[in-house]
Symmetry: C2
Subunit: 333 residues, 2 copies
């Protein structure tokens, strides 16, 4: 799957800014691809881009309309069809990160077939994968792991990518979720593939490479999350990453969505990730910590980061607050 750029960011009738989180992530990390936004009446979100008509977007060279809005039930709204059909008439492909499939909306499917446009449901991989084989492969790989879901694994990996690129290092970002796929234009939504092929799909998106090349692989979930740990373990085995970065949000009270489940300790989470990772990457090691301290004061956050760096003997950063240079310094050394 490879999306054509640039994009028109469609946020429909998003009730609030949070509903446009996916689109916002793309704007933050791939601004050069976002030519404008398209909003319907009632939209309460704003990506800070120019509002373009579909005709203006086409004239500006937009190749793909990206549906970057979360919707109740994850379905394609009836009210969106006219916009999507017109975009295809004007030459655009459509990409969606929703659970519902574009192809299941008759008007959208018919227009795509008639105008010969591509429909990308990035949560529904269409390729056939192989099962993983764990065969050692060349190149360097780093994977973001975590104590829980939704605490900054994608953000950390993207920050590393930008920092390494700025230093002229040979690095790629490997997307494993919908927002990451829109940001790089390719990748695989690993939580949406058939269970037997999790590690195989990850092997495929981070293949053997040059000795100085880095694949920075976006992690998903946590080995300690009762809903998604299977995805995380398959990802860990498939990534075959010698370098692991442990992501964490200090002060989080329970696993996301599971009020009865407390978070693991950092020590336990590091130990289990290293132990499992070594099945396919014998020298795998957690070499840095990346905390989300967004709810802490500057003083408390810096104390927390410094004390953990001391305690664990490795860089401990907040990618937003401090940047990730301390980690890249180690990767370069």
């Amino acid at each position: 799957m490879s999306l054509r750029t640039p994009y028109l960011m469609f946020i429909g009738d998003a009730p609030d800014q949070l509903a446009a989180k996916t689109a916002q992530g793309v704007v933050d990390w791939a601004p050069q691809w976002c030519k404008g936004q398209f909003r319907l009446p009632g939209c309460n979100a704003d990506l800070g881009l120019d509002d373009l008509t579909l005709e203006e977007a086409a004239a500006a060279g937009v190749k793909t309309l990206v549906i970057g809005v979360a919707n109740r039930g994850g379905v394609i709204s009836e009210g969106w069809s006219d916009t999507l059909v017109r975009a295809m008439e004007l030459g655009m492909d459509i990409a969606s990160g929703l659970h519902g499939r574009l192809r299941d909306v008759p008007a959208v499917r018919n227009a795509a077939d008639y105008h010969n446009r591509a429909l990308f449901d990035v949560r529904h991989p269409s390729t056939q994968f192989s099962v993983g084989n764990g065969q050692p492969r060349s190149g360097n790989r780093l994977l973001a792991v975590g104590t829980d879901c939704s605490l900054g694994k994608m953000y950390t990996t993207l920050a590393l990518w930008k920092s390494m690129q700025a230093r002229g290092m040979n690095a790629d970002f490997c997307a494993t979720g919908q927002t990451g796929i829109f940001i790089t234009g390719s990748g695989i939504s690993v939580d949406a593939i058939i269970a037997d092929f999790i590690s195989g799909a990850v092997e495929e998106i981070s293949p053997a490479n040059e000795p100085d090349h880095w694949d920075l692989i976006e992690g998903q979930g946590s080995l300690f999350h009762p809903s998604y740990a299977g995805v995380s373990l398959g990802l860990l085995h498939g990534a075959q990453a010698s370098h692991l970065v442990m992501c964490h949000e200090p002060g989080r009270e329970h696993m996301r969505g599971i009020p009865h489940q407390s978070l693991p300790t950092l020590e336990d989470c590091i130990a289990l990730n290293e132990s499992c990772a070594r099945l396919t990457a014998p020298d795998a090691k957690v070499m840095a910590l990346a905390f989300n301290t967004s709810k802490m004061s500057q003083q408390a956050a810096m104390d927390c980061l410094n004390s953990h760096a001391d305690k664990f003997g490795m860089p401990c950063v907040d990618p937003v607050r401090t940047g990730v240079d301390a980690i890249v310094d180690v990767l370069q050394s």
Copy 2:
């Protein structure tokens, strides 16, 4: 998914007995449901059942034709269509454990629609699952885990089920693979579902139950298999089993299908399974060992079983050679 019984076992043009392994498993464990076999010219397998014509099978009350044969590429052969269509004309549903879908064969799909018969692709779950939640639930659950794939997890679980039923215990077998599904008439092929829902699907097939009830859950893969560990971990978390039985084949030289990967030690495999299982079942413990000693002499096998029972302080059986009574004794105590 719930299959109608009894069955006609279709083994097509199986080139050898191994190709009919699935059908043989059903005959071994659910002989009461197997009214006969149906073979095409060139079939070199024999299930030891009466060869029935489709008309004889229908007259004998058969409700489902079960495709119990492995095929190159896992597809529905062109040469089978006439048989499948005629079976549907005579009132039968069709169930298949192949990778290819029955519905993708036009003649089969059309006949099913015309005669209003059900097509069961047991490797393609059609239901929508919820994500797992790890919420504690009542009843007793036992899960077979293993050092590797294909070393007797299904056989061990079925042997426990039969032994417990014979003692009047309140026990069900929960199938997680195609052969098991044909044997019980229901279940979920967990390696074939979307990765996000592995643990949720297992929670669904082994729901809360009476305090004296046992769900005996068929395991899949191994936490140490680089291809399938994600499935195994989701299964472990979803099963929420206090009782684990570790399955192993002494002398196996490498992980199945992965010549460069050696097997874990029993100690490591027990430790990792217990540690991960305790996320959702805090008192989870490996309480017995089940070995596949089919390649060993009687003397060597018994020495091996006895020495491991002593070393690990728990029953160590070969379900085929010794039966599983030593395990059920512990479950009853």
